[in-house]
């Protein structure tokens, strides 16, 4: 699957210009500063926005988990079935896969933020071969973040994931990185994402430290 020469214009100005990259099997991470066009890119891949130029080649159905959603007062099962696309059994299997077996009769609005995200993740996984996730780990405590990351690491073997995020910790489980800045994109392998590239992308020094077999990203706040 790939994106070629993609240009997207919103409200008169270009948000993405001539963006090209490959979507690999596994977890594709879309990084970039605020306003770089991460959400726009996800929405364009999902078919919400029509590009003025270029094309998006994806195979199969697309599942989508938005960054924000309403606190719907309804059982988890009704959230999963909303839109009426797949059989209940398929949704329940994915609910189990994200670790929420037995949650189908719980009220969605009464779950924690992390659990709500997991429910919408299960829905997206049940509905698409390509699954687009917008900020899946934002505003979570460390335990819930670890839970979501654990699920992403497991399911990336079964589905192709495209994750837009500010959370650099996700680089550790990524297979491909797309760095957006000023409307254009650079594709690289996760291990190529060093201090120089990150600091240039975000405009502040970001230290990369190896510890415990993984990378820690430390932005400097005193510049």
């Amino acid at each position: 699957m790939q994106v070629r020469g993609l240009s997207v214009r919103l409200g008169g100005s270009y948000v993405l210009e001539d963006v090209s990259f490959d979507i690999v099997e596994g977890l594709n991470l879309v990084l970039g500063p605020n306003g770089a066009g991460k959400t726009t890119l996800l929405r364009t891949i999902a078919g919400i926005y029509k590009p003025v130029k270029g094309r998006v080649d994806v195979r199969g159905e697309v599942g989508y988990m938005p960054a924000e959603f309403a606190d719907a007062y309804m059982p988890v099962m009704d959230v999963l079935l909303a839109g009426g696309r797949r059989s209940p059994g398929r949704y329940l299997a994915w609910l189990k896969a994200v670790g929420l077996e037995g949650f189908e009769n719980r009220i969605f609005s009464e779950l924690s933020t992390g659990q709500k995200r997991l429910v919408l993740l299960a829905k997206a996984l049940a509905e698409g071969e390509l699954v687009l996730l917008d900020e899946p780990t934002a505003n979570l405590d460390p335990a819930h973040k670890a839970l979501i990351m654990g699920v992403l690491q497991r399911v990336k073997k079964l589905k192709t994931l495209v994750v837009a995020t500010h959370d650099l910790d996700l680089v550790n489980i990524a297979d491909n990185v797309i760095l957006l800045k000023g409307g254009s994109a650079i594709q690289m392998r996760p291990e190529e994402l060093n201090e120089k590239v990150l600091s240039a992308a975000y405009g502040i020094p970001i230290l990369v430290v190896e510890a415990d077999g993984r990378k820690l990203f430390l932005p400097r706040y005193d510049v």
């Binding site: 929405r43 999902a46 078919g47 919400i48 697309v62 989508y64 938005p66 924000e68 959603f69 309403a70 606190d71 719907a72 007062y73 309804m74 059982p75 009704d78 959230v79 079935l81 909303a82 839109g83 009426g84 696309r85 009220i107 609005s109 919408l120």
Partner: protein
């Protein structure tokens, strides 16, 4: 409670409420006299039964309309009354009398279209000014309602001297289900059935829009166009109701909340069928009280308001609790 139980309770309560309704009014008719010949049979079968049928159908239509508006706009305080839809329809319906006095015939041909036009304008203004904010929408709805109610009052003041047969102000502002023909019942039945069937069929899609516009767009649903289509259908239904029985408030607001609380489930799949069923006995009972159980007749919105005030307080209280 399961949706099926609530629907069954609603249906079972309709026959006794209908008997109560048929005996109630300016003249008390005991149930054993329903089949007697003479003036009683005229009152029961030609005046009260069509009114009872209308009350039940209107209750169902308003409840489904309120449920759909609340779900699609994620606003627990919406219904055709709060959104100004009904006040707009009343003004449009009144305007038809004005055209009739100006010598345009076939008044009945353009009363509903005019009511629809102003119902749609009123709803659109409210929802545009509210811009998706719960409280801004309610405040806009109050302003729009007052504006059209004032215009209706002024219009009626002018018209009542020229058209003596025009219904009184209380009808236009608070509703009277008094003289309804079986033909109007048939039209209301068609609308009630169409609205309930369409809403039940669309319930899963409505739930998706209630969760996220973005997720709906991925599924090729255009949320804004979808909402507009439903507001148009609701405005049309409200236009027919208001041109026949005046403005009936709060049923559409209250019934979906009662359903939501009883079922402990706010999904369209649960709330819409339950509201369609529960709206009928609620307005039937309210109108039985309004038409004479108190010993005199009062506009029906006066009664539904009394039932609804505690529900609104409960919703606001629950909302506050959820924010904590």
């Amino acid at each position: 409670m399961r949706p099926g139980t609530l629907i069954l309770i609603s249906f079972l309560s309709i026959p006794p409420l209908t008997i109560l309704f048929l005996s109630t009014g300016a003249v008390f008719v005991p149930p054993d006299k329903f089949l007697a010949s003479g003036p009683y049979s005229l009152i029961v079968w030609e005046i009260r039964l069509p009114a009872a049928i209308a009350a039940a159908l209107i209750g169902s239509i308003l409840a489904v309309s309120g449920a759909v508006m609340q779900i699609l706009y994620r606003n627990p305080l919406l219904d055709p009354y709060i959104a100004g839809t009904a006040s707009g329809a009343a003004f449009g319906a009144l305007l038809a009398y004005l055209l009739a006095t100006a010598g345009r015939a076939y008044f009945f041909l353009y009363q509903v279209p005019l009511a629809f036009l102003f119902a749609a304008i009123a709803s659109a203004v409210t929802l545009a000014v509210g811009r998706g904010n719960v409280y801004a929408t309610v405040i806009a709805g109050v302003a729009v309602s007052y504006l059209f109610s004032a215009a209706t009052t002024i219009g009626l003041s002018y018209l009542s001297s020229r058209v003596p047969q025009i219904p009184p102000l209380a009808f236009w502002l608070f509703g009277y289900i008094d003289y309804v023909s079986y033909r109007v019942d048939a039209a209301l039945a068609a609308i009630a059935a169409a609205l309930a069937i369409a809403a039940i069929k669309e319930a899963r899609r409505m739930d998706l829009i209630a969760i996220s516009d973005e997720m709906a767009k991925v599924r090729r649903i255009r949320p804004d166009g979808y909402r507009l289509a439903w507001i148009s259908a609701i405005s049309l239904s409200t236009a027919l109701i208001v041109s026949q029985v005046g403005v009936i408030g709060f049923v559409g607001l209250m019934v979906p909340h009662v359903a939501r609380l009883a079922l402990r489930n706010g999904s369209a799949t649960a709330v819409i069928p339950a509201s369609a069923a529960l709206g009928a006995p609620v307005l039937l009972a309210s109108d039985a009280v309004a038409r004479g159980l108190l010993g005199f007749s009062a506009p029906v919105t006066a009664i539904t308001s009394i039932f609804s005030a505690p529900v609104i307080v409960l919703v606001l209280h629950a909302g506050k609790r959820a924010e904590r």
